[in-house]
């Protein structure tokens, strides 16, 4: 009898678990979470759009650095002391990063060396004080050709002779194996993935990522910016919301009167193009209320200071906001550079 009871208990527990699983699945579907990644495999090539200066500028302005997060405490991962970031003035040419072009530089060809060896010889100049980009690395092919090495070999040999902490000579399987990559994403290890990508790849490599900009581009390219828009509006980042619409207009040209995006056309975007209208309208409403409160607060302050020119108060508030935004824009570049230096 007791055995029977036990069995019953086991089976019922199983059904409960199964049921709970079912309900979870149902929940997931009801939230429209799609685990199937969209890929850049359509007939159109995203590269020209992504690297066009307009869109790059938009993406850069869209990735608002959270100062609390940038300067937060984090473990130094075995490093004895974190160096303080250096600030330098750079020209625009120095600041711009171009994507690597393949190296084709034949130094000499000697057919008399055919048959000398079946394997390649790679020569690395390990002289003191030469940086990784300018180090001489050449290869002698089995057919007697002496030529400069391509980027992948250069990177590997630089890592062999001058290792960078945390970078692997072979590409980590989490980037090459889709299964491992997806399992990391399932466990919400986004920060780990992004940090590791920053260490593993050079900024001018095609696989490199600088976190937020490419994400925005990805979402815009696949026309799924609604959640991001909602997030921006809920945080009150209206400037960024407008920029996002401008990005979409620049990529797809599918927003009616999208040229007005610079003139705060988000209301029209939400009524005409969004798939999450109600939430976004709510968020916008909330933002308006916040803004109204801010304006009234500043008014109250002005009155308290003895000035009753209400229009002026609003103007000053807007000016101060503009000034702040400009400051943030300036700091963006410096921050990005300093973050690169730190990692």
């Amino acid at each position: 009898m007791s055995i029977l009871l036990k069995k019953f208990a086991q089976t019922s527990a199983k059904t409960i678990i199964l049921r709970s699983n079912d309900s979870q699945q149902f929940l997931i579907y009801s939230r429209k979470l799609s685990l199937v990644p969209s890929l850049y495999d359509g007939e159109k090539d995203p590269a020209p759009k992504f690297f066009s200066p307009d869109i790059q500028a938009l993406l850069k302005r869209l990735s608002r650095p959270d100062l609390a997060k940038v300067f937060r405490k984090r473990t130094s991962s075995g490093l004895p002391v974190l160096r303080t970031p250096k600030y330098k003035f750079l020209t625009t040419e120095e600041l711009e990063i171009e994507v690597q072009q393949p190296i084709h530089d034949v130094l000499s060809q000697d057919p008399a060396l055919i048959g000398y060896d079946t394997s390649k010889y790679i020569f690395t100049d390990i002289s003191f004080g030469v940086d990784n980009e300018h180090r001489i690395i050449v290869e002698r092919q089995p057919d007697g050709t002496l030529q400069s090495c391509d980027h992948d070999i250069r990177k590997r040999l630089n890592q062999v002779y001058f290792p960078i902490k945390g970078r692997k000579i072979r590409e980590p399987s989490m980037f090459t194996d889709d299964e491992k990559f997806n399992s990391l994403l399932d466990r919400d290890q986004y920060e780990f993935v992004l940090d590791r990508a920053c260490i593993q790849y050079e900024p001018d490599e095609p696989s490199s990522t600088r976190h937020f900009g490419p994400l925005v581009f990805y979402l815009t390219w696949h026309q799924s910016i609604d959640s991001l828009m909602l997030d921006l509006l809920q945080f009150g980042a209206v400037r960024e919301a407008v920029l996002l619409i401008a990005t979409r207009q620049a990529i797809h040209r599918d927003i009616s009167n999208g040229d007005l995006a610079q003139k705060l056309a988000k209301q029209k975007y939400i009524t005409a193009n969004s798939a999450m209208k109600s939430q976004q309208e709510l968020a916008l409403q909330g933002f308006r209320e916040d803004y109204q409160q801010l304006v009234e607060l500043s008014r109250g302050l002005k009155i308290a200071h003895g000035k009753e020119e209400l229009a002026d108060a609003k103007n000053i508030l807007e000016e101060s906001q503009l000034w702040l935004e400009m400051k943030i824009g300036d700091i963006d570049k410096k921050l990005q550079h300093c973050i690169d230096q730190m990692w």
Binding site: T118, Y121, L146
Partner: protein, 131 residues
């Protein structure tokens, strides 16, 4: 045991003749060489004056043999009149730093000849079995 510093631990005599040579540092069945400058009359087991590079004669997973050369210090010692042994001369020749060593051409030519001979023999064998 920690490796000696690349600046070397051997005693240095300014007027003694120097030699840039390969010094074997691998273990059994696993050769690995340092390219070092030392006195000509010293053996390869004695401490060197300075290490100038390394050479791994066993191809890696990508079928590459890796050679590291500190060209700056190499130029310095060449300027001091150091003698270069043939194996190092061959490596420097392949790297494009020196003209190609005659022995490299000899090796290449002999390898090609051996390959041709082997091919001829195979062809003869094939014709013999066919007939």
């Amino acid at each position: 045991m920690p490796l000696p510093p690349a600046s070397g631990t051997g005693r240095y005599f300014a007027k003694a003749a120097k030699s840039i040579r390969l010094v074997r540092h691998g273990c059994t069945n696993r050769p690995f060489f340092h390219i070092s400058v030392t006195h000509r009359k010293r053996t390869t087991t004695q401490p060197v004056i300075e290490q100038l590079g390394s050479f791994d004669p066993m191809p890696n997973a990508f079928n590459e043999k890796l050679v590291a050369l500190n060209l700056e210090r190499l130029k310095y010692w060449l300027g001091k009149g150091a003698h270069v042994t043939p194996p190092v001369g061959e490596l420097l020749g392949l790297s494009g730093f020196f003209p190609i060593h005659p022995r490299s051409y000899m090796t290449a030519w002999r390898n090609r000849q051996a390959e041709e001979l082997a091919q001829q023999k195979e062809a003869e064998k094939a014709s013999a079995t066919a007939s």
